[in-house]
Each structure stands twice: as structure tokens, then as C-alpha cells.
Amino acid sequence: MPQRLRVRSKRPKVFFTHNKMSATSSPSSPKAPSNSTTRTPSTPSEVFDDILSSAQPPPTYSQQTWNPSNPYFPHYHNQNMSTTATTPPESLIPPTPALFTTRPILQDTLKTLSSKEQLSTAEICMKYLSNPSDPFPILSRREHIAFLKSGVLGVQNGKLREEMVALDASRPWIIYWCLQGLVSLGVDVGKYRERVISSLQPLQNESGGFGGGNGQVSHVTASYAAVLALAVVGRGEDGDEEYGEALGIVDRRAMFRWLHEIKDWESGGFRVCVGGEEDVRGVYCALVILALLGLPTSGNLTQGTKEYLGRCQTYEGGFGATPNGNEAHGGYAFCTLAGLCILGEPAVVLRKYLDMDRAISWLSARQYAPEGGFSGRTNKLVDGCYSTWVGGCWALIEAGINGPQDENEEKLGEKEVGGLRDKPRKGPDYYHSNYILLGLASTQNYFYYTSSPIPLSSPPPSPNRGSGDPPLPLTAPFLWRYSPRIPSNTPNVAEAIVKDMPAWPDDVTEEDLLPGQEVESDRLKVHHPIFNIPFERAGEIEAWWKGKVGF
């Protein structure tokens, strides 16, 4: 098949998307036309036709029955899956591939607690997945919007239920989860901007950073969530000079000072608060804060941090909470990989500090059949939130293998109750709702790293920093791009389909939620692969801090 992409490294270029991962044939493949490595298709449709016509063998049953109104379909399409039917059924809903309705072919006879828990989870998931009428229901968008709104606006008298006191030290998190979840579902959250600012302002401490609530000491995860929530709601209306960027309420100088206080100069890591524990969450959150606020990393605030992150990789290939021997875990895997990708170009930092082969093996082993979901650790159960923590790693891994890409190469451009949950038989919550939506969104776009900054609709203000100011080196996370076309070089593996999924209208208002006016779709708004905020916000925020003089 024709080579659409130049292969620069010795290794074949790879594209991973959750249960879809493929490699290009090698440059020396006899099937590749001799001019293939230099040919660049000029239009989107040309690329699309190219892929379809080059697919061999002929399209399978699954591809023939592809219907754009059935957008969940490609997620479960896999050339090696045996399907239970050989002729298209009358219904447009394809039968669930046997992989997701039957137990794994290899199962040990020995029963232990782990295998019993695994089996009962698999049984529950199989029941859902083999429901013949609706195995993969479309997102209940209206219900999820209502659920997430209740997180910010409260359920009774504008407040959250009293049991939510367990999150009293995590209020910025609730705000971030719900707002980002709403953005993913196409809701314009700009209308919450003033309230986000007035809610978070009392959480900021004079000594720098944000606490989880008013009067609480600063905590790096609370500060991270506050910064993300402000980043999500964005800029004020034109002419609204009072706040400009919502992030403008952050006392950057005090934040910078406080980050020095929680930095562990010996290990290279960060503590979560003064006197608190130290782990890779602290590192990732601190790095996101540094990058999004455009804080200088002089003073060696990132000294020893890449090495710290590299040492978190365990003998299994995954990543533990600290370099001190903890078990490999999906949440810490994302923190480690994203942390490294904030500190440099993925192909450089990931390859230098990690054993990529073992990392890829361990990450791919997180997906189970028949459940289809990801687990966080070896021999643990699947959980929806790992669709972000593990699923979100794939864009970073791809960029680490493929290296920077030029933009011109190929890139274009439960139904009654809302909320999403860990797994069946658990209740929905705001945390899982957001990360499951982000995980799903990460299957709908191809993220790649390039070497030029994100183009802005309006040009950034010219940098007018004094020449004596320290450099702002954490620019790597701002060099990402996305394409709604997910490339694949494996014949018959569904691709380029997400682009045709019906999208929701921008800036959804309450009226858009009226029955009958809804667009049935699973298509979500694109997010940034490292910051987990709306994609376009990263470039706007970079322009904002670049326009600042000093702090």
C-alpha cells in the first residue's frame, strides 16, 4: 500500500488509538511505489480515497455496513475480530463482535480472589455488550449535561448534597471536572466565567497557590485544578477589559515562589503541599501550572525532574507513584508521560528516559476483552477513568515513536440518569464523567507533535519582555496539533471515519437541548492531550503569557 507518511526513524511509524494500533509497512516494502515516500496528497478527500482504494484485502462485512449515523461502530472494528454473522443483518446495528461477548479463549482453571473478581466483572460487561437491540448506546448527551451542571450549580438550593463534604478539600476539582465535561459535550461554559473566578478567588493564598477550599493551605492538585478550570472558561467578551484571561486572577509571582517551596531539590520531584506526600502527581500538576502560566523555569525548578520521572518506570514497563519501588499504575503512567512531554519534545525525552518497548507492551496490556475497557494495573479490574489515564498515553507514545511531523504532510485540518461511572453496578460521579468523556474524545482525534506553534485566529501580541528576563522554556506542550482524521495503515481497520460523524452545533444553548433538536452523536469537542482542556485554549493561553511583561 502507498506510503502516506515519511518514515524518519528506523522504526515503522505507528498509530495507536485504544483498541486500534497499527504500523506502516517498512520503507523497503516491495508493495510501496518507489515515489511513495515523497508524494503528498493535496486534498483531504484525496487522502481518504487513497486509503480506501489501497485497503487490501477487500472491505470486510463491517466496513460495508458502515453508516455515519452509527458512530460508535468504528471503535469496535478490528480486522482480526471474528464476527458472529457473515451477511449484513437488516438492522443497521452491527452484531457485537464475538471478542466482546465471549470469555477469553485462554483461562486458567485455578481460581483466586483476583480471577473471581475479574470473571464477575467480565460477565456483567458481556451482558451489556451482547444486548442485541442496543449493545453500544449513543451518549445520553442531555442527561450527562444535566448531571454535570448539577455539579457546578448544585442539586438543592444551589448546593451539592451534604455527602459531598468528602470533596470539601477538592472543590476546584469538582468545578474543573464538570466544566471540562460540559465543554466535551459541546456546551459553551463562558457563561460561568465570572462565577468560576469569584468561586476560586477565595481559595487563592497570599503565599501562593490555591487550597481545596477557603482557608485551606495550598495544594498542588487543587492549584492544578483551579488553573485548569480558569483555563477552560477562558477570555472575557471583547471589550471586557476587567479580567481578560480568567487565568489573570492567578498571582503568578506568588505561585512561582510557592512552587519553590514544594520542590524537593534532592529527588527532583514535588510535594503535594508543604508537609505533604511526594509523588508523580505532584510533578505533573506542578509542570502543568508552570507551562500554562508561562512561568520561568530558571532557578532550576525543573532540575532533576526528567530523571525523577524516568525512575518511576517499573520492571513491568508501567509507572509507579514514586521512583521508590511502587507498583505500575495507569494514573501515574499518564502523569509520567505527560510530565516528560511538558519538559521536551516527546521523541527526545520519552526515548531518552524510558524503555519505550516495555512501556508500550504494558500500556497495551491494560485493555481487556470482553470488557473492552482499560485496567489500571496488572490483574486489576477495568475502570472507565483509565480511558483517559491509559488511553491518553497513546497520543504521547505515538509522538515519541514517530517524531515531529510537518503539518503539510497529511493532516487536515443508561439512559434515564445522566453521568458516567467506573463500571456497571457503580454510581456515576463527576470525576468519572469527565475522564470517560475525555477518554472517548481521545479516540476521535489524531494528536501529533510538530515543531511550530499552534496558529491563532488572532495574532499574538508581540513579545515585549525585557531582554534581561529569564527564558520561558516550557513550550513543548504548546507544539501539539490534532487531526479529526485518524490515520491507519492496517488494511480494513476503520479510519477517517470520525471526521464524518455528525458534530454538535457550537455554543449549545439551553434551547439546543429541546427534544428533537438534538444531534445524535458521540462526537466530542477536542481537548488538549497534555492539559486536558479545550484544545484551542492552549494556544490562546500561550499568547496571553507571552504578552506579559515579567510577572
Binding site: N80, L106, D108, E162, V165, V196, Q216, N324, N326, A328
Partner: protein, 329 residues
């Protein structure tokens, strides 16, 4: 929930000197929580006492009260720790009592970070003032308590992290190997126990490994570990934990993967796919054969079996590996 009559700080003379400080949630706050009156009052007295930077016994009362209602309140924990150390310095408080308080909480709140960080701080402080024999007693009791935690959840991440800190901090390696072996006896798929085994044997400064010279692990330790893995794989060939550990051991001691080829063939006879009982053995064989050019055909065969039949959910990964093998020619 609590059948005893509601206590009120406002009516307690011991708190009469304080003016409770309300919480400032700003105008029209989002994600505001409907606190109980009990929580609101306790928090307002805590804010008042923190504003005075007071570290008196009544701080222990109000922090314990709030922790009972919200154990994830890290600010309370940090302030409580400061107070405890101030009071223990003057002999007003016995730090050992704090551990009893923590035991009860930890058993009820399995997923809490703060309890274990606090415990670490307290144990560190107790140990600093303890004679060697008292330290040994302390470590023994800590391990006993963790065993109670593991009875509820043998994979509790916080407890394992704490155990690794404790073992390293007090060089308490004795008994760790038999402890993990017993856990694996109960559930050979407990990956946390396998991870701890690796920590004890290779990561922990070599107490067990009796490393010699340049961190080299003595031969008999390697043999013992491989024999342990062989037994574990024999009873559950599809157990990823044991195979991951095997790869980890081989890499750590610089043994080639090919040294376990015959073991892998026992679980994945390539010439007789109907007899294959472990996808992990196939995976290892693919890596072993990928190393030798003349055996690439066998590597590809193993990977294709994985993609098509034995581990199809990872088909894209196995196909990617096929691509790597072919590209390396």
C-alpha cells in the same frame, strides 16, 4: 448517624474565648457544598484557632472531629501534625496514641492518602526518640497492622507504598520475602505482592539478594526466583503478574530471554497451537525469536497467533510487533 446528643463548640466553655471564623465562598459560588451544621461549626472554630496559630490539646479535639467527618481534609492533617509534635515536645501528648487513632480511621477509609502520609510523619517522630529495641517493636506492630489492612484489600496502593517506606527506612527486610510468598500463596495473581517481591529481592538495597560487588545478584537468588516463577506459572499459566516478574528478573540480572525458551515452549508449543495455554509465553517467544534473523519466521508466527487467536484485543499491538520484526531484517 451519631446517637449521642450533638456537641456544640458554642456552648462549651473551653471554646468560649474564640470567635468562630466563617468560610468565605465568594459571590455566587459554584460547587458549593451543603454542609451540616456540625461541620460548619467545627470548621469555623478550627479557622479561628488556626488564625491564632495555636497548638494546644483542644486542636487535637477539633481536628479529630473534622477528620471523622472528612478524612481527606489535608489542611487539618498538616495542622494536627504540627500540633502533635509541639505537644509531644513538652510531654503533653504520647505519639503512640496517635497510631491507635489512625488504625481505626485507616480500616474505615481504605482509599485515603492523608492517613498514610500522616502515619509516616508520626512513626518517623516516634522512631527518632526510640531506643533500637523500641524501634524494632514499633516496626513489628506496624507490619502487624498492615497485615490487617491487607486482609481487607491485598492491593491497597497506599498501604503498599507505606510498607516500602517502612521497610527501607528501618532496614526491616527480615521476613518480607516469606510475607509476600504467603500472600501469593493466597492469590498468585496479586500483582502488588509480586511488585513488593521485586522491591525486596532487587530494589531494596540487596538485603535479601545478598548482592555482591557491583550490585551483582548472587546466582542462587536468581535460581530461587526463577524456580518460584516456574511454580507460579505452572498453576496459572495465564497469570500476567508472574510473566512480568520473569521479564523483570531476567533484565535485572542481564540474562538473555532465550534462557527461558524451553519453559515458554512448554506453555506455547508453536508447532502445536492447540496445546497453547499461555499468551504470555507466546509473547516471550516472539521476543526470543526476534533476536535471531533466521528465527524471524517463528517470531512472526507467534505474534500472528496472538493477534488472531490468543490475545485479539491487542491485535494492533501484535501487528505492530510484526512490523518491527520485519523492519529489522
Amino acid at each position: 448517624m451519631n446517637p449521642t446528643p450533638l456537641y456544640s463548640y458554642a456552648s462549651d466553655p473551653a471554646w468560649a474565648d474564640l470567635l468562630p471564623l466563617p468560610q468565605d465562598d465568594g459571590q455566587y459560588p459554584l460547587a458549593q457544598i451543603a454542609y451540616t451544621e456540625e461541620y460548619t461549626e467545627a470548621m469555623s472554630y478550627l479557622r479561628a484557632i488556626m488564625a491564632k496559630n495555636e497548638h494546644s490539646p483542644r486542636v487535637l479535639q477539633v481536628t479529630a472531629h473534622i477528620i471523622e467527618m472528612n478524612p481527606a481534609h489535608y489542611t487539618i492533617w498538616v495542622y494536627r501534625a504540627k500540633t502533635l509534635f509541639a505537644l509531644s515536645a513538652t510531654g503533653e501528648v504520647q505519639l503512640g496514641r496517635e497510631l491507635e487513632f489512625l488504625n481505626d480511621l485507616a480500616l474505615r477509609h481504605q482509599k485515603n492518602y492523608q492517613i498514610w502520609n500522616h502515619r509516616q510523619t508520626v512513626v518517623e517522630a516516634i522512631a527518632a526518640a526510640a531506643a533500637p529495641a523500641e524501634q524494632e517493636q514499633l516496626v513489628r506492630e506496624e507490619k502487624e497492622f498492615m497485615n490487617r489492612m491487607f486482609e481487607q484489600d491485598g492491593k491497597n496502593y497506599h498501604v503498599w507504598s507505606y510498607r516500602q517506606w517502612l521497610v527501607r527506612r528501618f532496614e526491616a527486610w527480615d521476613g518480607e520475602l516469606s510475607f509476600v510468598s504467603a500472600l501469593l500463596e493466597r492469590d498468585v495473581r496479586n500483582n502488588s505482592a509480586w511488585n513488593h517481591r521485586f522491591f525486596v529481592v532487587f530494589g531494596g538495597g540487596g538485603m535479601d539478594a545478598r548482592q555482591q560487588g557491583e550490585g551483582e545478584v548472587v546466582e542462587e537468588v536468581v535460581e530461587r526466583e526463577i524456580a518460584f516463577i516456574e511454580d507460579a506459572v505452572f498453576i496459572a499459566p495465564q497469570n500476567a503478574s508472574a510473566w512480568n516478574y520473569l521479564r523483570g528478573v531476567l533484565k535485572k540480572v542481564h540474562r538473555p530471554l532465550s534462557s527461558v525458551e524451553s519453559m515458554c515452549l512448554g506453555y506455547a508449543p508453536l508447532d502445536n497451537p492447540d496445546k497453547i495455554t499461555s499468551s504470555h509465553a507466546l509473547d516471550l517467544l516472539a521476543d526470543i525469536y526476534a533476536e535471531k534473523r533466521e528465527e524471524h519466521g517463528k517470531a512472526v508466527k507467534a505474534l500472528e497467533l496472538l493477534a488472531a487467536k490468543f490475545d485479539p484485543i491487542r491485535a494492533n499491538y501484535w501487528n505492530y510487533r510484526v512490523g518491527l520484526v520485519k523492519a529489522s531484517v
